[in-house]
């Protein structure tokens, strides 16, 4: 990989880390389009749990991994504030980049015929 490209990738990752680690703190916590549509008709509490009514998400189940260390974009042990979101965001960017680059590297390697090296 050329040096220029390495710099571009590093700059892009830096921007992604800032977005996920810092800017994410200022994101809206309102339910998104899908959640709003599927919760339409139901009453919910502060945690977004359904407390009554009839809606498309009535039979939605709790996530099987909701006790995981980064569940809900929070970091266990860091409460629910800035640091909690920041750490989970930074970890997410790193993990997604690692898995993505790793998986595509493996895919590319398998694609090459021996004479192409």
């Amino acid at each position: 990989m050329r040096k220029k490209t390495t710099w571009f990738i590093l700059s892009g990752l830096f921007v992604a880390l800032i977005l996920a680690g810092v800017v994410s703190h200022y994101a809206s916590s309102s339910p998104d389009g899908l959640d709003s549509a599927t919760l339409k008709g139901c009453a919910t509490d502060a945690q977004g749990r359904i407390t009554g009514g009839h809606c498309a998400a009535q039979k939605a189940k709790k996530h099987d991994l909701e006790t995981g260390p980064f569940a809900g974009y929070a970091t266990s042990g860091l409460g629910g504030g800035f640091a909690s979101t920041a750490v989970s965001g930074v970890v997410g960017v790193a993990v997604v980049f690692g898995i993505g680059a790793g998986a595509f590297w493996l895919l590319k390697r398998r694609a090459k015929t021996p004479e192409q090296g």
Partner: protein, 230 residues
Amino acid sequence: MRPAAMHMADGIINVPVTVIFALVALVLLVLCGAKARADLDERLVPMAGLTAAFIFAVQMLNFTVLPGVSGHLLGGALAVALVGPWVGALCVSIVLIVQSLLFADGGLTALGLNITNMALIGAFVTYGVLRLLLKVLPRTPTGVSVAVFLTSIVSVMAGASGFVFEYAIGGTTHMSMGVVAGFMLGAHFLIGLGEGVITAATVATVSRTRPDLVYALRGMKPLTGVERAA
């Protein structure tokens, strides 16, 4: 404040339809993997990793579209514009899988549904629309930015339609389809506008700094073609 969960939970769509879409997603992802090989070169591998990481980061940034309703980037349009349809669909899928496994966002069994709506429909609809638009618009940073703005709106609404279809054939509750479809499509038109702005701004920035890293600038071949200009 903390980013809200944003992908479909388990239990909204019944088991048979969930299984069908898991299989559909699996087959199409294997196809994407096979097709992606032809596109992957030394530049595209790190670029694909960066695209996935960037989509993950921007998905955390929910923006308000209506009082009490937010939206976030889905990423299909951005992925296709930067790394092409096959690698792009895989990038969004990687984001969705990590979000489900590590962040408990999006049900484990609903992964096939979420991947179908956001990664596969998102990428394939984007590719079709973007190719058409780039026959009319110039293949310049500005032309591509305008094209990806318009494409983003279509691709987000197509993804939302994917959910509406899945709920219509397999919803575990029986709400009025008019209400569900009307709200989903209305909200996602607004979300599409936001997605369009973010995608166009990102593609414009990369196009001006490293045009050689933008798939949409290098040439968009028909989906059956595997040759790519170097």
